[in-house]
């Protein structure tokens, strides 16, 4: 039986890892705040300087339950970074997310990350962020990142919600155009059709970044490929490790079964064969 003595050890672990030329392993971070954003949707801020320094949009972190009987990681997209603090936004769907919703400032939580391959944001473009439900968090971080650019990059957000437009306010500071739709009104494809003129009228090249339920993303892929718009999708999958060790999280692609956690979570329309 081993005893852990320090209150927050993220720093030490990260320093040693960087000295050894390795990634820092699982460590205990500090909870800065937990707040309700919308019915069943929480915003969790964790202090982890390494993630804050190195994370790129669409990368995710593993959170672990304090209950040793719930062993597997809970992966969440990074929604925002400020200083040493990392914001995650999640919906309560099961025992793990329910546990996390009961966290308070000062509590501790085990983390691993950042994990996965980020969006490719190299080209200056009008980035159209097409998100559905709890697919929006990585797009928020993409917006935050892109908004700091000096070039002609623009951000247009196109979010579909069940009812409450919980992320519109969050994305506003980072996006030049903010569109959203709730289920009762239609879906993101309806919205994309509405703004198609506007998107294609503009001089700048459009790039779609999308995250949400798979049927939505497939529809977006079809819509985009018909119009020759390059698109990147951030996928979800049930994970055993989240860092590439177990090959549990695969997605079927024309190139075979790829790991969502390591080959992704970001894949292009072509990689996924969703242009067919």
């Amino acid at each position: 039986m081993s005893v852990f003595m320090s209150t927050v050890n993220t720093d030490i672990i990260e320093q040693r890892a960087s000295k050894a030329g390795r990634k820092p392993g699982r460590r205990t971070g500090e909870v800065i705040s937990v707040s309700l954003m919308s019915q069943g949707v929480y915003q969790l801020v964790i202090r982890d300087p390494y993630i804050a320094r190195t994370a790129r949009p669409a990368q995710f972190v593993n959170l672990y339950s304090a209950n040793a009987a719930m062993m597997l990681p809970r992966p969440f997209g990074i929604a925002k970074v400020e200083g040493d603090d990392v914001t995650l936004i999640y919906q309560v769907v099961g025992a793990g997310t329910e546990e996390f919703s009961g966290l308070r400032a000062g509590d501790r939580i085990d983390v691993l990350g950042p994990l996965g391959k980020p969006f490719d944001l190299d080209t200056p473009a009008n980035y159209v962020l097409v998100g559905g439900g709890l697919g929006v968090p990585p797009l928020l971080y993409a917006a935050q990142t892109l908004s700091g650019r000096e070039d002609e990059t623009q951000v247009t957000s196109v979010f579909g919600y069940r009812d409450d437009r919980f992320a519109d306010e969050t994305v506003k500071p980072y996006a030049s155009k903010v569109y959203s739709i709730v289920n009762a009104e239609g879906n993101v494809i309806d919205l994309l059709n509405d703004i198609e003129q506007e998107l294609t009228a503009s001089d700048s090249r459009n790039v779609i970044l999308s995250c949400g339920p798979t049927p939505m993303m497939k529809a977006v892929a079809g819509w985009a490929s018909k119009r020759g718009i390059p698109a990147q999708f951030s996928l979800e999958s049930r994970m055993g490790c989240g860092y590439g060790a177990c090959v549990a999280c695969v997605v079927d692609t024309p190139q075979g079964r790829l790991k969502v956690c390591k080959d992704g979570p970001v894949f292009t329309t072509e990689q996924l064969g969703w242009d067919a």
Binding site: V3, F4, S6, R16, A66, M71, C241, Y243
Partner: protein
């Protein structure tokens, strides 16, 4: 790390299962004090990775692979296998169910890629061998015979492949035939990895030993499954999978102990639910000469190194046991 509560504790109890330890610095260089010898091969410490829970490109980012007793790699097949469709995993209390189905790029790729890279990094390598048929196993072993792999681990116990696989591991006659055939093909130290999904493990172990294997590793996963509460359907696409993790720890110990009672001299590698030096030590008490860490690596990349460090410390105060290990002596 690994506090049982999300509390503002200065001192808090480590997780029974996760067992992380912020004090063991798995990245500092370490002089190993307690080696073991398994079937003539020296391991710098008695802890290795368990097959299917190590990938160099993932785990190598987190620690120096030469630090471990051995690196046991994912099962390799004669040709690339695509494995089972997703979802491939589900959680269970203090455990997990997986049905990866041995997805791997095949032995040829392994021989030019992962194996030479691991050897170059200084790892002692156990190559886990998968097959759907006697011929499959033979093809892989033939290609590995002249390779730089230090040991071969023949997996006759994976519950997640449709033909061969598990049935060979549950039928003493079929197992004897398979192993006798492979034994004739190579002098490399050969381990057989046994299934716990059998009525009489001792009969199976005897068959493998009679056919000439040098060591046994046990256990592989137990058949299990989970259902989705909403849909009523199995969570895993393959429906059933293999259960691993702390949940199976007492079961693995029971298997190792029973085989050790029946076969006093065969080297045994204990596997199942190990996530701390203490749990590894229990396997040594049960009669294992070494251990492999599986699911624990998935939830904490550096787990095998931490387990090895903790065990190294525990063995300091158990000189008789340490001496036996160092002599490759079984008991």
């Amino acid at each position: 790390m690994g506090c049982v509560n999300h509390m503002k504790e200065e001192s808090c109890e480590s997780l029974v299962m996760n067992g992380q330890n912020g004090q063991t610095d798995v990245l500092e260089p370490h002089e190993w004090r307690h080696k073991t010898i398994v079937a003539g091969v020296e391991w710098k410490n008695p802890v290795g990775t368990a097959s299917g829970t190590f990938q160099l490109d993932a785990c190598g980012d987190y620690y120096d692979v030469s630090q471990l007793g051995v690196i046991c790699t994912k099962g390799v097949s004669p040709v690339p296998w695509e494995g089972n469709p997703a979802p491939r995993t589900a959680e269970s209390p203090a455990g997990m169910v997986n049905a990866v189905g041995l997805q791997n790029p095949g032995v040829d790729h392994y021989l030019v890629d992962e194996l030479p890279r691991l050897k170059k990094l200084g790892a002692t390598v156990v190559t886990n061998v998968a097959g759907h048929s006697d011929e499959d196993y033979a093809q892989v072993v033939e290609k590995l015979a002249d390779s730089s792999a230090d040991m071969l681990e023949i997996n006759v116990s994976c519950p997640n492949v449709s033909h061969g696989g598990m049935s060979v591991g549950t039928d003493p006659k079929a197992l004897h035939r398979l192993i006798a055939n492979l034994r004739a093909m190579t002098d490399k130290p050969m381990i057989v990895k046994l299934s716990p999904n059998v009525t009489d493990i001792v009969e199976i172990a005897h068959a493998a030993v009679d056919a000439g294997v040098d060591a046994l590793s046990l256990i592989n996963t137990l058949v299990g499954m989970r259902f989705d509460i909403e849909t009523g359907k199995p969570i895993i696409a393959n429906r059933t999978g293999g259960v691993s993790g702390p949940a199976i720890f007492p079961i693995g110990l029971g298997f190792v102990w029973r085989v050790r009672q029946a076969l006093p001299t065969i080297p045994i590698i204990g596997i199942g639910g190990i996530d701390s030096g203490e749990k590894a030590l229990e396997y040594l008490y049960a009669g294992a000469n070494a251990v492999e860490v599986g699911a624990a690596s998935l939830i904490d990349p550096t787990a095998p190194v931490r387990v090895a460090r903790e065990l190294d410390d525990l063995l300091d105060s158990r000189p008789d046991l340490a001496a036996k290990l160092a002599n490759g002596q079984t008991w």
